[in-house]
Symmetry: C2
Subunit: 395 residues, 2 copies
């Protein structure tokens, strides 16, 4: 009596997970330090010591009945207010508590945001290459995910294809900047052009089109730059955030949806998300984790290692002749494979203990992703393996 659709989902194995399993098994043979595992996007730097100190302080000094007590399903009011203030300070927004809905990470944020502003049968457009988990997040709401082909020149938006695919069934557009898997950061020009286009289409079709912005990598931006804040460009924006990467807390599942105060039904979005969460049994993130991130709201882990690693890898990849767009942020890089079949390319790389992810599941075949959230020392050691791999297999 198990629903057939779920059984079928089980068969769609995650390529990334399988590669991670390979890396773990190989690690048992030769020591994990000798496996150049670029498969998983798991932060490699610790959370700020202050986060743990805050947790310990609360556990020691707060009334446990209150500390571990129910959070309202929208999140703890003080936490939501603190987040609103921080966003206002940093991005010149005008959020209040009522625009913030606390979630279990960006996954929960995107799943709730999509469900909130689409109905079954609607089209949600996203841009290749894209995070493959968008498929379950969107398909289980009943909306239909369609993927705009990549702009492989610079991994900004392929506006030509986007305009071709746009029709009146589109009620939401999902962007991810800085981007997993390319590391591309949308420029202000890209976001301006996107916003203008969506404003035109709203007018043309006479209905709202929401821009859902998945931004767990917002704080991992290189060259001392800031990523433009998506919601500044377009009123009907829902920002989906996670502390997984910025505070290195992926396991603690904490993030939020921030509804632009100028969006349609702005005062209702968080409340509606909380109704959705009743139905999914999500309810609210853990109280103590909400309280602890609120205390660290303007902090990040030491994220500099990611830029260091990127520079090392980018330089080597270029010198080996790879076609590669230099990442503007994240801890990913997305070079073109040295043969058309990226799966075969990544399979061959395994012989050199290089674990690379072929790009097929990201909707952009012929490329591969390296997640360089690893120790810099290991990145440096991997270069020799990379050189050998290219020389032996492709020269």
């Amino acid at each position: 009596m198990i629903r057939q659709e779920y059984k079928e989902m089980l068969n769609g194995k995650s390529v990334i997970r399988e590669l991670f399993t390979f890396a773990t098994e190989r690690g048992k043979e030769i020591g994990y330090d000798n496996v150049f595992d670029y498969s998983l996007g798991n932060p490699s730097v610790p959370t700020p010591a202050y986060f743990n100190e805050c947790m310990i302080d609360m556990l020691k000094n707060e009334d446990p009945v209150k500390l571990h007590g129910y959070s309202p399903s929208l999140g703890i009011p003080e936490v939501r207010a603190t987040i609103a203030d921080s966003l206002n300070r940093r991005f010149g927004m005008n959020y209040t508590m009522e625009h913030i809905f606390m979630t279990t990470g960006a996954a929960g944020a995107v799943a709730h945001a999509v469900r909130c502003v689409t109905k079954p049968g609607d089209t949600v457009l996203t841009f290749a290459p894209f995070f493959p988990e968008y498929k379950p997040y969107i398909n289980m709401t009943g909306a239909v995910l369609k993927v705009v082909p990549a702009n492989t020149e610079n991994f900004q938006i392929n506006f030509e294809k986007f305009e071709e695919m746009f029709d009146e069934n589109v009620t939401a557009v999902l962007v991810n900047t800085p981007n997993n898997p390319t590391g591309a950061t949308y420029s202000a020009a890209t976001l301006k052009k996107l916003a203008d286009f969506l404003y035109d289409k709203q007018k043309e079709y006479g209905h709202d089109i929401f821009l859902i912005s998945d931004e767990p990598y917002r704080e991992i931006v290189f060259n001392g730059a800031d990523a433009p804040y998506v919601s500044k460009f377009y009123d009907n924006s829902l920002s989906c955030y996670s502390y997984s990467k910025s505070l290195s807390l992926p396991g603690e599942r904490i993030g939020y949806v921030a509804a632009n105060p100028k969006c349609t039904d702005a005062p209702l979005i968080a409340a509606i998300c909380s109704q959705i969460s009743r139905g999914t049994g999500h309810n609210c993130p853990p109280s103590i984790i909400q309280l602890a991130v609120a205390k660290c709201v303007d902090m990040t882990s030491d994220l500099s290692v990611y830029e260091t690693n990127m520079e090392i890898l980018y330089k080597e990849l270029v010198s080996l002749g790879f076609e590669v767009v230099k990442p503007g942020g994240t801890f990913y890089i997305f070079p073109k494979a040295l043969e058309d079949d990226a799966v075969a390319f990544c399979e061959k790389a395994k012989k050199y203990d290089l674990v690379l992810v072929p790009s097929d599941s990201f909707g952009c075949p012929g490329y591969f992703r390296m997640a360089y959230c690893v120790q810099t020392e290991k990145v440096e050691r991997s270069l020799e393996a990379l050189r050998k791999f290219v020389k032996n297999e492709y020269r």
Copy 2:
């Protein structure tokens, strides 16, 4: 563009929440200590000190990258294995890790379990009086909740009505024992009769019928008794548990689904739940909370206060002439109101600073719920108010 169905959910205000708001406001006038607030089912005793000690120990001594790292979406393997072992020891079951799916409390557990074994249009039967949140949990899966009228004699199952309402569209039956709001604990005889009936119906209709057992109050049982373990009686059972009440952690959102090893597709249930959780963005409960409850798996808070409070209230209610079934567990009691309109009855009680919940939203009009998870001293002080209320309004 917000979905209309969610906007409508917003209008269905929670009676319990409104009463709690009344209690809070009234508390500002006369001191919350003087408001006899029996509205909310929020544990009044602290979590065991050991829980907080384990949290602190991990925060101080574990590698933070590992501690706060991703949990697999089914839950951390060691945690699942520890829970399986504990259930086997305590209830003579044969669970292994693969039968346990970690969730954000019983809410997440019930929502996932229902979605796993029903399809849109199926009927799910539950028994009045019932926890009103079952409606969103079930209706958002597309299945249809139908409520069997109460057996008001003892709040066991009304088998006559149950058999009348049963048809081949029923694919799941949802029970809650010990029960919110009545405090009734299903006897072994009730569970045996239920199981026999369901086995017969499975044979008659030729399809599985799952018994979904919501048991967050499993450890709050009076008279030194144990609540019979539902899954022992019926193979196609999914047990939905939460540590909210037993460890006084309602805000930390942690629980599980345990699939009976003999149920249909037993090795797949947890895996299927994890596919569902991908779609809802639930993904997995926080790592550190999983790890901490696993260390406290055979412990509870000091739950004895609930039985003390129950005895005091039960005695007084009986002596005041209330019709009331003595609770076998939980921290609820469910007497018959002194007039047919329980809403009017509870409204009058407010004048005496007694906050009682009318039973209408539980599907059993004419009764009221008292949540006696409050300090015993306050319960004792409330008796005078209760006496005055009855004398002035109904004598």
